[in-house]
């Protein structure tokens, strides 16, 4: 399962749109500002590929919207930006009484065999790792369902790979072709003036 050229193409289009919107803002700024702008627009482009069907993309859009509302609104103007930005993610419901009761039960179950102990430890470890994964994937804290979390992670990884592929090819091309661009544009200028 690798990112297709179709996805890359779409991502590139979105990202270019974002950069173009950002252009007037980043023309005369420092490198760090520009880096932030590029990162933001790439993130929004990646998230908007899913059109709000996945949890992580919605979470990412909301996160970026808090940082730069204008850009996100401009970039998502085709896809009902308002609903995506303002849509509340489903909260994980956790009843206090039930949690307390389960803790009590857990404490009561002291007498266990060795194999049970080991199994419990393994389960605890997996739980901790899952929590780590939740922290890494955007919007992971809203996915109370393990299946959902893994699905979203799958989706997120494929999107990230798309993003990285496109960005890398662009950076390579930009670094390699920058001199050639200058030459070519000079030539172009002359032809236009003629």
């Amino acid at each position: 399962m690798q990112p297709t050229s179709l996805m890359k193409e779409e991502f590139l289009k979105k990202w270019q749109m974002g950069l173009q919107i950002y252009r007037p803002l980043i023309d005369n700024t420092s490198v760090s500002e520009r880096r932030k702008a590029i990162k933001l627009s790439a993130d929004v482009a990646m998230a908007s590929l899913r059109r709000g069907t996945t949890c992580w993309s919605r979470a990412l859009i909301q996160k970026t919207a808090t940082e730069n509302n204008f850009l996100v609104r401009q970039m998502l103007s085709g896809i009902k930006a308002e609903t995506l930005i303002n849509k509340k993610l489903p909260k994980v419901m956790c009843h206090r009484k039930i949690v307390r009761r389960s803790k009590k039960n857990f404490m009561r179950r002291k007498s266990r065999s060795v194999s049970e102990e080991v199994a419990a430890k393994a389960r605890k470890l997996i739980k901790r790792k899952t929590q780590g994964l939740r922290n890494v994937v955007p919007g992971g804290e809203f996915m109370n369902n393990d299946v959902l979390l893994i699905q979203e992670t799958l989706d997120y990884i494929v999107s990230l790979q798309t993003q990285v592929n496109v960005m890398r090819s662009i950076v390579d091309a930009a670094e390699a072709g920058i001199e050639r661009t200058a030459c070519y544009l000079e030539k172009l200028k002359f032809t236009i003036e003629d």
Binding site: Q16, D27, C55, V136, N145, Q151, E152
Partner: protein, 352 residues
């Protein structure tokens, strides 16, 4: 179908049991589908796109011109374009995006027809579901093609059902509708009550997805043990995120010179070219050598025929043109993407 009938017959005494079996059957059904394509409720149908060969996907993408044109028309009539050239450019870009989205819609429905024909047919046979899908159809009555619309609506309905049943909400409404499912059987020595059946189905589903994840993450398929696999996945995601940071840093450090050059050039160019070649200006930040390509091609086109410089307020006219441009664009990307995922400097020079 037979089994649901039977369960329906004895639903008086065994309601919870039936509920559970329907549920886990749904899980399994989703599972099978996931192997073919990710359920679009969560995956957005993109992994299904991954499964399709790219040529086919492209064909599907371009197969719904009528619907996109219709939206263009509505867009064109709604928006009045100002005389400012930059704003016009932007507006054109947006209309292009809108068309793209519409095409994507068409694409999704096309997928439904190709990859999951059986499920759709099954749904079609059921009168209750068509009833429930009516409001959805009326909701998205944008595209003029009714059959496509129907499919979309049904598809969404189906997805909604799968989602809601996994969330274990509004079971009572689910109960009334007959759902397509795969029967789960307990092997010898396994518990047969509904809870453990459901739990087993859930575990199987998680395992299947974990396997997919292992395939996706490089160097992860040899590792045994869920905790280690999860560790590896976390590392992979973090490394990807760091790569994005690094790449944006590199691009930010590269950009200003390109910007400067292009700005001076564009300032010297005449306004008509500026108006016409929003394509090139769109490219300029991101992909310098492609800028050249597009501008080159644009010049060729200009030599052959005068470009549509007058931006008439007629929505259809201009947006159709925009779409043409867009498709050309897409082809450019495609060839580049497929041919050179990792561009060598030498290769770039060769191309130039």
């Amino acid at each position: 179908m037979d089994l649901t009938g039977r369960f329906g017959g004895r639903s008086g005494d065994g309601v919870p049991f039936r509920e559970a079996t329907a549920l886990e059957s749904l899980h399994l059904d989703g599972d099978d589908e996931f192997r073919q394509m990710v359920p679009p409720g969560n995956g957005g149908g993109f992994t299904a796109l991954l499964e399709l060969p790219p040529t086919q996907a492209v064909e599907l993408l371009h197969s719904s011109p009528s619907s996109s044109q219709a939206t263009h028309h509505s867009l064109g009539t709604l928006t009045t374009f100002p005389s400012n050239s930059v704003l016009m450019e932007r507006a054109a870009r947006f209309s292009v995006i809108a068309s793209e989205q519409q095409q994507q819609n068409g694409n999704v429905s096309g997928e439904t027809t190709t990859s999951s024909v059986p499920s759709v047919e099954r749904i079609k046979n059921e009168p209750a579901e068509t009833d429930s899908s009516q409001p959805l159809i009326s909701d998205q009555a944008v595209s003029p093609c009714p059959s496509q619309n129907n499919r979309c609506g049904k598809r969404k309905d189906f997805d909604k059902k799968v989602k809601s049943s996994t969330n274990k909400k509004n079971k009572s409404s689910e109960e009334n509708e007959k759902l397509p499912y795969v029967h789960v059987r307990a092997r010898r020595g396994q518990a047969t009550d509904s809870h453990s059946l459901a739990e087993r189905a859930r575990r199987e589903k998680i395992n299947a997805r974990m396997k997919l994840l292992q395939e996706l993450v490089p160097g992860c398929d040899k590792i045994q043990g869920t905790a280690l696999v999860l560790d590896e996945i976390i590392n992979h995601v973090q490394s990807l995120q760091r790569q994005v940071e690094m790449l944006s840093m590199r691009l930010a450090s590269v950009n200003p010179r390109v910007d400067f050059n292009l700005d001076t050039i564009l300032a010297s160019e005449n306004a008509s070219l500026m108006d016409g070649s929003f394509n090139g200006t769109a490219m300029q930040l991101a992909w310098p050598h492609q800028v050249m390509e597009t501008e080159q091609s644009y010049h060729h086109r200009q030599l052959q025929q005068p470009p549509p410089q007058q931006w008439s307020l007629d929505g259809l006219n201009q947006t159709v043109w925009g779409r043409e441009e867009d498709q050309d664009h897409g082809n450019d990307h495609n060839s580049l993407m497929i041919g050179s995922a990792n561009l060598h400097p030498n290769q770039v020079k060769m191309e130039l």
